[in-house]
């Protein structure tokens, strides 16, 4: 019995037990309430859209791994997050073939060419969305009304348009709360915004459920709370300052916080572990930069929404933040 060969390994021999796949899977769970709310608010079109982007991202990841003779990395769940997030940032009546293309681009250009999970510079879902924004500017700003009475029996005509044919636009353009404020200075009431009784992208409308999802991840120590805290505080402070200067011209900070994709962006996009800084102070700086950019783009930019570009720019400077802000190592320099 005692003559058998023993296994050897290097210390530490104990592990804490939560794996990367566990973290990714829990992020998916945390996204689901807001996603389901999107389906509830926008009906079948939204359901088809979310399924399409998720399947597209997962299939793309699987086949790219196969073609490059690697073991499929689908089981780490990160492709599911990318696909689901992408779907949640698109209008519910977005044509499915475009959405599928977006999923392919997200994984290919957003993640795989950098070397797969852990190497992506940008949040892959946002890379896909940026591509769609550039390629299909009309479809991506054509909104669909929420809570249509027949939403569970019919779907938007645009959903099943054929590839490369003009989508039949049956939504209405430019009437999200942000656009309404930007172009005609109509503010929407905060409770409506927070609860998601409005039009918008599929998964971004219900701020309350997004926050709950984020709190779940924070409680399980699977999300960096400093990033959303920093973004939201910055937006609140900056916008509050502007609002104090001229409340006619600039929206209230609460409107800013709860409208558009800010909540989804702050809680689930900017917190992409790979594309955000690793140090606590770095996270605060990164969040503050994104927060400032969001307000600047929303108020002075040509687009009503700026979260996507703000997060992508934040991702781009994140490695530099890590180079500049390093923790002071024990026993070196001044305290």
């Amino acid at each position: 019995m005692l003559n058998k060969t023993l296994n050897i390994s290097t210390s530490p021999h104990a592990v804490q037990g939560v794996s990367t796949a566990d973290i990714m899977r829990n992020v998916v769970w945390a996204l689901l309430p807001a996603a389901f709310f999107g389906v509830y608010a926008f009906g079948l079109s939204a359901l088809f859209l979310l399924i399409t982007t998720t399947v597209s991202a997962v299939l793309t990841e699987h086949f790219l791994c196969r073609f490059s003779n690697k073991e499929s990395t689908v089981s780490d769940w990160s492709a599911v997050i990318t696909g689901l997030l992408l779907g949640m940032t698109l209008p519910p009546n977005f044509p499915l073939w475009m959405a599928f293309l977006g999923g392919v681009i997200s994984i290919t250009l957003g993640k795989f060419i950098f070397g797969g999970l852990g190497c992506n510079v940008f949040n892959p879902a946002l890379v896909g969305r940026a591509f769609l924004q550039a390629a299909f500017p009309v479809a991506i700003t054509t909104w669909y009304p929420a809570f249509l009475p027949d939403r569970f029996s019919t779907y938007s005509v645009a959903t099943f348009t054929l590839p490369f044919m003009e989508p039949a636009l049956d939504g209405f353009t430019g009437a999200t709360p942000l656009a309404a404020f930007k172009f005609s200075h109509q503010a929407t009431a905060i409770p409506e915004l927070a609860l998601g009784l409005i039009s918008g992208s599929t998964g971004e409308t219900c701020a309350v459920l997004i926050i709950l999802g984020g709190l779940y991840l924070i409680a399980r120590n699977m999300m960096n709370w400093r990033i959303p805290a920093s973004i939201l505080l910055t937006v609140f402070a900056f916008c509050g300052l502007l609002n104090l200067i001229n409340s006619e011209l600039y929206p209230t900070p609460l409107f800013m916080l709860f409208s558009g994709g800010l909540m989804l962006g702050a809680v689930f996009m900017a917190t992409d572990l790979v594309a955000s800084p690793v140090t606590p102070l770095g996270n605060w700086v990164y969040g503050a930069i994104i927060g400032l950019l969001v307000v600047v783009i929303r108020i002075w930019g040509g687009l009503p929404e700026g979260v996507m570009y703000a997060v992508l720019l934040g991702n781009a400077i994140s490695p530099h933040i890590d180079n500049l802000i390093k923790p002071r190592v024990y026993g070196t320099g001044k305290r």
Binding site: S11, S19, W225, T279
Partner: protein
């Protein structure tokens, strides 16, 4: 990402692994039987090997000097049992390297009494005599590092020891040797402290105990000699609280400079079992023959804290306590910093604080290694504020020098907190050991 770190009066960062101490913490220290054959490597400590002064076939009595110190950073070796020197030659050690050593066959019916030597009394001896006495007793750090204690106690020119810290933290999971020593050998500890105070000139003594050993702390506090400047301090349970750098920071609020020692900020840290051994051996002029070892883990039948003769083969130890059928891994030391043994032919040495046995069913296979997702869990764990994530990526890329020059690789003391936390199961500590080795070799080749 912990919210409440700032509420703790302790060093920053660190981890909270499952303790697993309950199974053995209430079991009194028991004498272990003598093995028929004792295997004694001459390098059981950090430093220069001891030099053998006995010859094959010679009969020795327990406590007799077998090998003398090979230099200043070295200690002598004493016979753990009475018996005959069967063979001299190369013996296996845990590192896999074979070193010169002694095979000692014990007398089955000897009384195993240890003869009195020339004692050193704390009242009359000079600091130099005590220092010499500590070396002559073969004493090394019993916490696991096995660094010769007299070297640590030699205060460098121009430095002063203000506070002596007796380390009873024992932050490694599973181990309960220091805990039992504090409960059962309090008198030896306080006598040892007297010797240490005289050597270091420390005006103040702190006995540091982690909060999970409340009974030991209370027991010691009740036995502090009247008017002695000794304080028993209870520290929050956190790994690696027992590491010198962390302990000094928690107790004194000062940091040991990078590349330096606690004495640079006026502190000397000595393990509590080492202190007890000094108090027990010096008055009688004897040397270390045995030490307390926790034998535990899911693969052990009779768990406990045992007083085991140095040089007892692991195979004999495990036969005596009984193991599960399907044992798969055996560690010497704790699960965080201990070493896995490849086979059971090696023996217990002065630095062995625990023997942990795990059957196949209890091993959590770390087979899925994912890429680093830069979650920052390792940064939040590293007690000296390194960036293990970046270091790991650099190590994989072979950028060993950049790791040392820009990211303070050489400050890492391999506590394992980063690898413990890593959700991607990246063997960070293994990377760092390899990289440190490379850097050292390159530096050695330059000079």
């Amino acid at each position: 990402m912990g919210f409440f770190n700032f509420l703790q009066n302790s060093f920053k960062h660190g981890i909270h692994p499952a303790e697993h101490k309950n199974e053995t913490k209430d079991l009194p220290i028991r004498q272990f039987p003598f093995a028929p054959l004792i295997i004694l490597p001459t390098l059981q400590h950090t430093g220069i090997p001891s030099q053998i002064i006995v010859s094959e076939g010679q009969e020795v009595v327990r406590g007799q000097l077998l090998a003398k110190a090979g230099g200043f950073v070295s200690v002598p070796l004493h016979a753990p049992v009475s018996g005959t020197i069967r063979k001299m030659g190369y013996v296996p050690t845990i590192s896999g390297k074979k070193v010169p050593g002694i095979y000692l066959e014990s007398f089955p019916s000897s009384s195993q009494e240890v003869p009195e030597g020339k004692g050193i009394q704390v009242e009359s001896a000079t600091p130099e005599e005590i220092l010499q006495g500590i070396q002559d007793a073969g004493i090394v750090g019993l916490g696991g590092a096995a660094f010769p204690t007299h070297v640590k106690l030699k205060i460098p020119e121009g430095k002063r020891c203000e506070v002596l810290i007796i380390n009873g933290v024992e932050c490694e999971p599973y181990l309960t040797t220091d805990h039992r020593v504090m409960l059962e050998q309090a008198d030896d500890i306080f006598l040892g402290i007297q010797y240490l105070q005289k050597v270091t000139g420390a005006q103040r003594v702190i006995i540091a105990v982690e909060a999970n050993k409340q009974n030991a702390a209370n027991h010691l506090a009740g036995k502090v000699p009247r008017e002695a400047p000794i304080k028993v301090q209870i520290l929050p349970v956190k790994y690696p609280q027992g590491a010198e750098k962390m302990l000094v920071s928690t107790l004194l609020g000062k940091e040991v400079p990078s590349g330096g020692l606690p004495i640079d900020i006026g502190a000397v840290v000595i393990n509590v079992a080492t202190t007890a051994e000094i108090g027990r051996l010096l008055p009688h002029g004897q040397g270390i023959q045995e030490r307390v070892i926790t034998i535990t883990g899911p693969g052990v039948k009779q768990k406990g804290n045992y007083l085991i003769p140095i040089g007892t083969p692991l195979r004999f130890v495990l036969e005596q306590v009984g193991t599960a059928e399907n044992i798969s891994e055996v560690y010497l030391g704790g699960p965080m910093m201990g070493t896995a043994v490849a086979n059971l032919d090696i023996s217990v040495t002065k630095g062995t604080s625990g023997i942990l046995v795990f059957p196949e069913t209890e091993i959590r296979r770390k087979e899925n290694i994912y890429p680093c997702i830069k979650c920052g869990a390792c940064l939040d764990a590293c007690p000296i504020f390194l960036n293990p994530s970046k270091l790991g990526i650099l190590a994989k890329a072979g950028a060993h020098d950049e790791m040392a020059e820009k990211y303070h690789l050489m400050d890492c003391f391999e506590c394992g907190s980063c690898a413990y936390m890593c959700p991607s199961n990246i063997p960070l500590v293994q990377y760092f050991r390899l990289s440190k080795n490379r850097v050292r070799k390159r530096k050695a080749s330059i000079t």
